[in-house]
Every structure is written in C-alpha cells, then in structure tokens.
Symmetry: C2
Subunit: 313 residues, 2 copies
C-alpha cells in the first residue's frame, strides 16, 4: 500500500525493532519540506509581481499558551518570508475594539490572512468576532461559509482548516491511498474532527465519526484502514482498537505527568504509540507528527490567499 | 425500543403477516398531522398579528416533473394557508432575469421563503442563483452558510434542508431513539445524504457515510441501528444488508417497469421493501414514506421563517 519515493526515504523512517514495524510519519520533516516549498514560492511571487504575503494575528488577553502559539506563528512567518502583523490587546478590551482591528485588516491590501487566536476572553462573543473576518482572509477556515462549502460536493472552500488539512497532507505526502478506504475519525470538534471527516469524504473514503456518545468506539475503530484521532484523551486508542496495517494520524497532544522529565510532564497522543507501532502500518508520533503541520498549513493558506488576490499562478 | 403513543397508534401500523414484523412508518399520515399543526399555527399567527406566511417559487423552463413538483407545492401551500407566489420563466431566460425576480422576492416583506425549483436550464449557473437567495428566506436550506452552520457544533442553521429534516422528524414522531445509535447514511448528495449525516451527528448518533466508492457497503450497512438510504438505486439494500431490528428510512423513489400497472411502471425505494419488512423493526414505504414529509417540512420552514421575521412565538 505504501509507495516510498525519494522524499519519503528521508522523512518517513521505519522504527527499528524486532516487534515494531510501523512506518513513523515524520511530520516535522514533512512540514520542513512544505515550508521550504512555500519559501520558494514566496520568493518567486516577490520577484515576479512584488507582492509579499501578509498574515495578521490578533491576540486578546495574557494566556501564556496563546502567547506561545502566537510567537511560534510569528517565527514561522519570518522563516518563510510571510510578513506578520501582530496586535496584542489587554484582557479587558471590548468586542468593539477587536472588531475595529479586524475591520482594519479586512481593508488592508497588504494583509492576506487574519487569524484571531482562540480562546477569546469569556466576555466576548466568539461567533461575532470570527464572522467579522472577511471570508477572503479567513486563513483558519473556520467561517461557516467555508465549512459549508467544504461539506458540499461541487463547491470549493476558499480555505480548509489547518490541522485537518495537515492530516490529509501527511497522508498524501506518504502516498497513502484514501479513496475507497474505511476511515474513522474520533472526535467531532469544529476545528479538527468534523472538517477532517468532510475532507476524507471529499477524498472518497468511507467515513465513520466516533465521539463521546458512541457506545462501541473500539469495535468501529478496529475496522478502519485510516484512523484520525482528535479527542485529547491520552492513550485512549489501544492496540486492540487498531486493525493490522491501519494508518494512524494522531492529532492529540496531551500532557501526562512524568517525574523523569525536567518539566515534570511529557506529551503523548490519543493513541498508545508503543502498541500502535506494533500493529499499524504507519503512525504519526506525538510530538513531531501532526503538530508541525498545522503551522505549515497556516503559511500555505496565507500564500494561497495572496496568490488568489493577485491572480498569481 | 419503540414507544407508541396515541398518535402512533394511528400513523404507524404494523404490517399484518406471519413473516413481516416491521412497523410501517406511515409518512403520509405523519405529514398530514404536521400539516394540521401548521394550519393551526398559521391561523393563530394571522389572528394575533395579521401575518400570513408567503412562499415564492421560481420555475424556469418546461420540465414536466418540475412543473408537477411546483404544482404540488402550490396545492400544499393553499391547504395550510401559506400564500404562494409563483414565477414561471421560459427555458431561454437569462440568469439576470432569474436574479431580478430573486432580488424582488428578497426585498418583499410578504415573502418569507424563496424556492428555486431545480434543476435549472444548463446555461445557468446554479451556484450564482442559489447564492442570491437571502439566507433569511432560504427555506430549502441549501445555502452554504446554512450547511456550514448545520455542520458546526454550537451553531444553528436558519433552515435545515427539507428531505433530511423530514427523515429525522419521522424518527422523532415514531419515538425512535437516535442518541448513541449506529447510523448509516447511504448516499452523500448535497440535498439529502450529507445533511442527513450532519443531522444524525447533531442528534448524537455514531454516523457512517456509505457511497459509490465504498468497497463493502453491505458489511457497513448491516451494522446499523438506523439506515437512511438516498441513492436512487431500486432495491439496492437487500435483507442481508439489514441488522435484525434496524430502523429504515428509505428516501429513494425509483420508477421500475411494471406491465401490470396502468402507467407501465411503479415506484420502489432504494430498499427491498419485502425483505426489509421481515428483518427491520420499522421501515418507511415507497411511496408514502419520506416523500410526503418533504413538502410538509417546506411548509414548516416557511412558517418558521415568518415567525422569526415577525418575532412571533
């Protein structure tokens, strides 16, 4: 099922063990490769039409995790040549102040993508704020109009949400067939599970969606050729949930206590990695699997947006 | 699993046979009951605030089947007290002419729902025309913004597409549990299969979507507690596809040759009815199952729209 090309020889390495046989899908290397491709395209666009893609990020409040995400996005922008615009507003800002900045970025021709870092402070209406982002600059792909188009055959969303797009890109770059395969998506969130299911359906997989109300998640999941898990439950998917030879994309990034780690914790996925490695044909590690793909897809969406606005092929 | 109330004693009748045991879900009676409820509500609204719900239907070209559908919708409107506005345009009309009428209905405060009968002549862009219908009057629920909201947790569509809404309403009115059940939707069209899957997911079913690229439709379907089939293949779903006790909603309406019928054909569903009756716990007949529900839901959407616009509870 898996055809290895030159690229894969570098980025997808088989774990060396007598028992473990799964190919490790190296998201870090694949994301690096994608960022390299984006850098080349941005350079070409700048040379040919003098346009530099611009991404505006709005951060409200002082959550440490959000600040880290925004800093990482800024660094990633710089590394590929996307110009980043950052607005940091205090926790007690009003909805109107946020909307004013969104409106300004909507009108700014140098901004091709607008990202509002979530979660917003609880006194703000997230829907109102996200709906205010111009659909042409909705690089997160969370606008209901983009989700609607994603769901509909014959329609094309302007942007696809970054994490599920990254999951599918991993499958494509590892030459893993999707068409006609049985796929199970665990989790049905607006930002990962649901759009991942819609994307798999667009790729002609037979899709089942498993969630917290599912009575027999193990039974259903164990029939899948492709599993995408995005629930945030450490090691929930055990070896017995996995069909031999299945491909596993693990979106979960869950901290678990680990006294041996200097930070006191380590990150694990939704899938029990050690067990998966023995049964699956390919599996993403956590960290270093889906995680690096999310930012790469954000950069890719920003580039696509700039290309579309300037009709640059 | 099935709790019968007074209403069901009338509308859901068990087929009398030594072999057949499935409850027949009598869509015709249930639709009649719903139309009766709508009539009462419309009368109350007229009495209290003097508003009559209005539905505009636009028909382009001279397809006989489309003309029949439009005539049936008009008759249904009259029967419940919805005022219908009809525009019939010749086949060679321009897109601009259709858009002009849509714009007029968008602005008309007496029109609460606008329906463009599909298919449109091939020289017209269906997307452009459907997108022109104001989302507040999109009683068909096909606007991507409505589909997007339907797909997203925490969002509410203004309208749900009529046929899949009718399928879920049949389950509700027959007191068939959906939460936690395994549901299989066969077919992934924009107008039935995909929105039906999204609705079942909102009702907390575990949902699988089977389609033309699915390699083992029988195996997957035979695990379902609830089957909604909308593919247009006469008798495709055989007894062996059905888990004993499953509930079957058959959306297919397929003409098959029948020399014994005066018209030379008869209508059958996607599901082999005779076989289903012996295995399922409940099944919709064709005709007389989902069919009558579609128009009832169109009337229901039109009433909801008028209530929303006039803030009438």
């Amino acid at each position: 099922m898996l055809l290895l090309d030159h690229f894969l020889l570098i980025s997808c390495t088989a774990a060396i063990s007598t028992e473990a046989s799964a190919m490790v899908i190296d998201g870090k290397s694949i994301a690096k490769e994608i960022r390299h491709e984006i850098t080349t395209e941005i350079s070409r666009m700048k040379d040919e039409i003098g346009v530099i893609p611009g991404l505006a990020v709005i951060l409200v409040g002082d959550r440490k995790d959000s600040a880290t995400y925004v800093r990482n996005k800024k660094k990633a922008c710089e590394s590929v040549g996307v110009k980043s615009y950052e607005v940091c507003l205090p926790e007690d800002s009003t909805e109107e102040e946020v909307l004013k900045f969104i409106s300004g970025f909507n009108d700014d021709p140098e901004v091709h993508g607008i990202l509002v870092q979530l979660p917003l402070p609880s006194h703000m209406n997230e829907q109102n704020i996200l709906n205010a982002v111009s659909i042409e600059k909705d690089v997160d792909g969370f606008h209901p109009l983009n989700i609607g188009r994603l769901a509909m055959r014959g329609r094309e969303p302007l942007f696809v949400p970054c994490t599920p797009k990254g999951c599918i890109e991993l499958l494509h770059r590892c030459d893993i067939d999707i068409k006609g395969k049985q796929a199970v998506v665990i989790g049905r969130s607006n930002i990962v599970g649901m759009p991942a299911a819609l994307l798999l359906l667009r790729e002609d997989a037979t899709v089942s969606i498993v969630h917290s109300r599912t009575k027999n998640p193990e039974e259903i999941t164990s029939q899948a050729d492709i599993i995408i898990s995005a629930v945030g439950q450490p090691n929930m998917v055990r070896g017995s949930w996995i069909k031999p030879g299945a491909v596993i994309i693990d979106v979960g990034i869950n901290p678990v206590e680990d006294a041996t780690s200097p930070r006191g914790y380590r990150l694990v996925g939704d899938v029990c990695y050690e067990e998966a490695c023995k049964i699956a044909s390919a599996v993403t590690p956590v960290p270093g699997g889906v995680g690096p793909m999310t930012i790469a897809m954000l950069l890719s969406n920003t580039l696509s947006s700039a290309k579309r606005m300037h009709n640059f092929q």
